[in-house]
């Protein structure tokens, strides 16, 4: 009964690479004996969705409709909340709110920052 979205369901190389790694929280948390059911970034993701809705950049209903379509197709095998993150980013890329090149570049910057001693 969800509303059909206009999101492009084509696979996106950057997100496919992340998906294929299979580093979802429910896989890695038990490996380290962590019992928290959610990854540390989940609340931030929820807040980001609220912010995008408040600003009108990505209305909540349109985001959720796109998420419904993406999580039963492109990201059907990914568990939540990773599937929600991938769906959000996929939708933002699809709408041109960010570009894949900028995102890939920023991910490299963020990783080197997080891994700095």
């Amino acid at each position: 009964m969800s509303v059909r979205s206009d999101v492009d369901l084509g696979r996106i190389a950057l997100l496919e690479a992340i998906r294929r790694e299979g580093k979802e929280w429910d896989v890695i948390a038990p490996r380290y004996g962590v019992t928290n059911p959610d990854p540390p970034w989940r609340t931030s993701l929820v807040a980001m969705c609220d912010c995008l809705a408040v600003s009108g950049a990505l209305p909540a209903l349109e985001r959720r409709s796109a998420e419904d379509e993406l999580t039963k197709s492109v990201y059907g095998e990914v568990s939540a909340p990773e599937s929600e993150l991938l769906a959000l980013v996929h939708t933002m890329l699809s709408r041109g709110l960010v570009t894949e090149g900028d995102l890939a570049s920023r991910m490299r910057t963020v990783r080197s920052r997080l891994e700095a001693a």
Partner: protein
């Protein structure tokens, strides 16, 4: 990892909670897209901080307190049924938070659905995942699933049975479909055997699932544990079949 350190005037050993000791691309992706969104002016750092703090602060405890108070205070219950949004302030929940006009999906007309011995309510959002977040916190994953959203309205008894809730046929089941303008929460029937309980005791048995309507409160039940149904005809992956054939 064992950790020994001293606080002011205190020297003791304790174990730190385990942490995931790797940085996944999911974590990196969330930070990267957020930074770009802020740089592109889609929202501000301040907005994000405000919504993050709010999201960290909400949870089902507020809803539990609300139900316990309604069970023990008839005047409060009357106010709650008359104007749910306003009555929530009495348990410290203001639907206008965190912006003054709520969140885009939470500032709504909030209504309490009162169960009776012959009427049971369940909430759903068939369109997306509307949920009374200020009272119940983040929605559980199953609530967001298309499986729950589609099947509950068609086969309510069967879906409730999957949660371990089997209602007798004389109990009418009413499904309330949430939407962007109206949110619902179930006020379950106070269970027998709790007549002399305090509000605090009562709140402990009002779990999130009871307020969604997929469980009933009862003495001794203080957590939502869903039964695991073993598949009658399990489906194995192709690789498992291959191994079995070897």
């Amino acid at each position: 990892m064992a950790d020994k350190h001293s606080h002011a005037g205190d020297d003791h050993d304790h174990k730190a909670a385990p942490m995931v000791e790797e940085i996944t691309d999911y974590e990196v992706l969330e930070i990267a897209v957020r930074e770009l969104a802020i740089e592109h002016g889609l929202f501000t750092t301040e907005d994000h901080r405000k919504f993050t703090e709010w999201a960290e602060s909400i949870g089902p405890a507020a809803g539990s307190r609300l139900v316990a108070k309604a069970w023990t205070d008839p005047a409060f219950k009357a106010r709650l049924l008359k104007d749910g949004t306003e009555a929530c302030k009495e348990v410290g929940v203001d639907w206008a938070e965190p912006t003054g006009v709520g969140t885009p999906s939470d500032y709504t007309n909030f209504r309490i659905l009162e169960d009776t011995p012959t009427l049971h309510h369940v909430i759903v959002c068939t369109l997306c995942s509307c949920y009374p977040r200020p009272l119940l916190g983040m929605s559980p994953e199953w609530y967001r699933s298309t499986n729950y959203r589609r099947r509950l309205v068609r086969w309510p008894r069967e879906v409730l049975a999957e949660f371990g809730l089997i209602l007798p046929p004389e109990v009418e089941i009413r499904i309330e479909d949430s939407n962007q303008k109206c949110r619902f929460m179930v006020l379950p029937v106070r269970p027998q055997g709790t007549e002399k309980w305090t509000e605090q005791q009562l709140a402990a048995i009002v779990t999130r699932d009871c307020m969604i309507g997929v469980a009933l409160p009862r003495p001794g039940r203080t957590a939502d544990v869903h039964p695991v149904h073993e598949a009658r005809r399990p489906v194995h992956s192709a690789s498992e079949h291959g191994k079995a054939a070897e």
